[in-house]
């Protein structure tokens, strides 16, 4: 099982990556090859041996995607608050602090504008390292602003999605972000502007059931897990054998949801080409 092999490495790397990128090796859960962390980052965190796509941090992803030096980050200072005073085994505030320390991020999404092959885009990338990129008020608000910026400035919107779903610690405030983001997309679509979503590992539940499913194009990285309900929940509810490759990008391309599966290194060129077709003629 990939997930069992992955965990110790993923855990170790995310803890230490910030301070000491050197001297750390990463084992590929797919082929078992060991790659130097630095080499892996230079290779856009794709296994040089088998092309396995490791989870990529949002900032690295954006830097690799837009024209060099063109990314302008916006809404960078937004912070989540514990509105519900969530009483669990750990507090929401502590959980947030832990993930902020671990990732160096304030929240699970980075937003802004940049150029893609010279064309201005509004973009956002979710970071799975931060609380499984779950969507609370901040994530919902930042994504909504990214979309609204696209509508106001008449630019395409590109979102890199990854998420475990809506964030439980913010209860219904999280669920309502599904409506907020989708509403912004409705207006962006009415303005005749293109929206491309790129699904990355994993995109599930509330995020998949809102903006991640609403792209004019739904693009996916190879072998991501994509779905609504988790596989374990489905197995327990239905007592059914799950089909081979269930809830993978490939399975969803076969079943008609994903428009294309694109290698991370070809993402830039592919989406730039797609926008040549999808952008309004006057732009």
């Amino acid at each position: 099982m990939g997930i069992f092999q992955k965990r110790p490495f993923g855990h170790g790397s995310s803890k230490k990556k910030k301070d000491m990128p050197e001297g750390l090796w990463q084992k590929c859960p797919e082929c078992g090859d060991v790659t130097h962390n630095l080499e892996l980052t230079q290779n856009q965190r794709v296994c040089p041996n088998c092309d396995y796509h490791f989870t990529q941090a949002a900032r690295e992803r954006i830097e690799d995607f837009v024209d060099p030096g063109t990314f302008e980050e916006l809404d960078a200072d937004m912070l989540s608050v514990d509105t519900l005073k969530f009483k669990g085994l750990v507090t929401y505030t502590d959980t947030l602090k832990k993930h902020q320390k671990k990732t160096g991020l304030k929240e699970a999404v980075i937003c802004g504008t940049g150029l893609l092959s010279g064309r201005k885009i509004s973009l956002a990338a979710m970071d799975f390292h931060f609380l499984a990129a779950s969507m609370g008020s901040v994530v919902g608000e930042k994504i909504t602003r990214t979309i609204e910026r696209g509508t106001a400035e008449r630019t395409p919107v590109i979102l890199f999605a990854a998420s475990g779903g809506a964030r439980m610690y913010e209860g219904m405030l999280s669920l309502m972000q599904m409506a907020k983001t989708s509403g912004a997309l409705a207006l962006h679509a009415q303005a005749g502007l293109p929206y491309i979503v790129v699904l990355t590992n994993s995109t599930m539940a509330g995020v998949m059931a809102s903006f991640a499913s609403l792209g004019d194009l739904i693009v996916s990285e190879p072998k991501c897990t994509i779905g609504f309900a988790g596989a374990r929940v489905i197995r327990e509810t239905t007592h059914q054998e799950l089909p081979a490759g269930f809830q993978t990008a490939e399975f969803l391309e076969e079943h008609g949801l994903v428009d294309m599966i694109v290698h991370r290194k070809k993402m830039r060129a592919t989406l730039a080409e797609a926008l040549n077709y999808l952008s309004p003629k006057s732009a």
């Binding site: 937004m78 085994l89 809506a166 913010e170 609504f228």
Partner: protein, 321 residues
């Protein structure tokens, strides 16, 4: 129907049994226990009040799930008149977990949709325990499109543990079906009123729940995840559902405080199933009141208000630049 007591209702049931015994004893032996009976009746009333006026979140969840609680079709048939059901999404099939159709309320021609549960095993097999598949959400959208075309307001009754977690649902893209409904409801050019009548289970509820007015019955709940699911993840065990229910702030009153609900509809003491007729009449009154208000709003303003209603949801800190 005979109403099964919930665990926390047992003290009431025990007292009621004692009262019955007392009355029986009095009849058989022809002894006057009137004073005792009256004392007992007062005690029962007091116990009922003590319990029902101080319901915990988890107790409300149990009431929301009560098998005797009025379901969507009960309301369609009795809060509305002339209910006419339509079937199918024109793509795959007809989802019996999501009945849809037309009905009249207070002179308003309405498009009505809702999640429908069953009361016994046979019904639940047909209704899939109120968990809809993609075809249910797509049927709902088809009806909403009709409503827009013929200028009927939409009334959505929410009562689902969640959209169905199954292989077929995933293969036919339940996420996409819900997402499209949410987006389209945000810009649907006709008034929409949603009422949570029982369980508001996460995305499966929101998939028919984007509305100009969102109402909740007092003992219904609306949550980002089921209390059991939340407990399994954050408490590592489903048996912590009561704690999760409390933490999630999922009751009608909690959500009214968070300004996520426009009106809470009071229920008879102990829940809507204690007096279904009253619940049905109350829903009718509330729906008609809101439809009347909404139908007076020009459509572009209605849509702008609806967008803002959801646009402003969210709590965060933003450092001043």
């Amino acid at each position: 129907m005979k109403v099964q007591p919930l665990e926390f209702e047992k003290p009431i049931v025990e007292l009621e049994e004692k009262l019955e015994d007392l009355k029986k004893h009095s009849r058989i032996h022809d002894i006057d226990f009137d004073a005792e009976v009256r004392r007992m009746e007062a005690k029962i009333e007091q116990t009922r009040r003590d319990i029902y006026m101080n319901l915990t979140a988890w107790q409300r969840v149990q009431i929301a799930r009560h098998v005797a609680r009025p379901f969507a079709l009960d309301y369609f048939m009795r809060s509305f008149t002339d209910f006419m059901e339509i079937h199918g999404d024109r793509l795959f099939g007809d989802d019996k977990a999501m009945p849809a159709g037309f009905a009249m309320a207070g002179g308003h021609r309405c498009a009505v949709i809702g999640h429908q549960k069953g009361r016994d095993t046979k019904e639940n097999l047909m209704r899939n325990f109120g968990s809809a598949h993609p075809e249910g959400y797509r049927k709902a959208l088809r009806l909403m499109r009709l409503a827009e075309k013929f200028k009927l307001p939409v009334v959505a009754l929410i009562d689902t543990p969640g959209a169905y977690p199954g292989v077929g649902a995933e293969e036919r893209h339940i996420s996409e079906a819900i997402a499209v409904n949410i987006r389209e409801m945000m810009v649907l050019r006709t008034p929409v009123v949603a009422v949570v009548i029982g369980e508001g289970g996460s995305g499966g509820a929101l998939g028919i729940g984007v509305a100009d007015r969102v109402l909740m019955f007092e003992n219904s709940y609306y949550s980002v995840i089921s209390p059991e699911g939340c407990a399994a993840i954050l408490w590592k065990h489903r048996n912590q559902a009561a704690a999760a229910a409390e933490a999630l702030k999922l009751t009608a009153h909690d959500l009214e405080k968070l300004k996520l609900v426009d009106e809470v509809l009071p229920e008879p003491l102990g829940g809507a199933h204690q007096d279904p007729q009253r619940a049905m009449a109350d829903l009718q009154k509330a729906v008609v009141k809101h439809l009347k208000e909404l139908s007076a709003v020009p459509i572009d303003k209605l849509l702008a208000d609806r967008y803002q209603k959801y646009r402003r949801v969210g709590e965060y800190i933003e450092a001043a630049k």
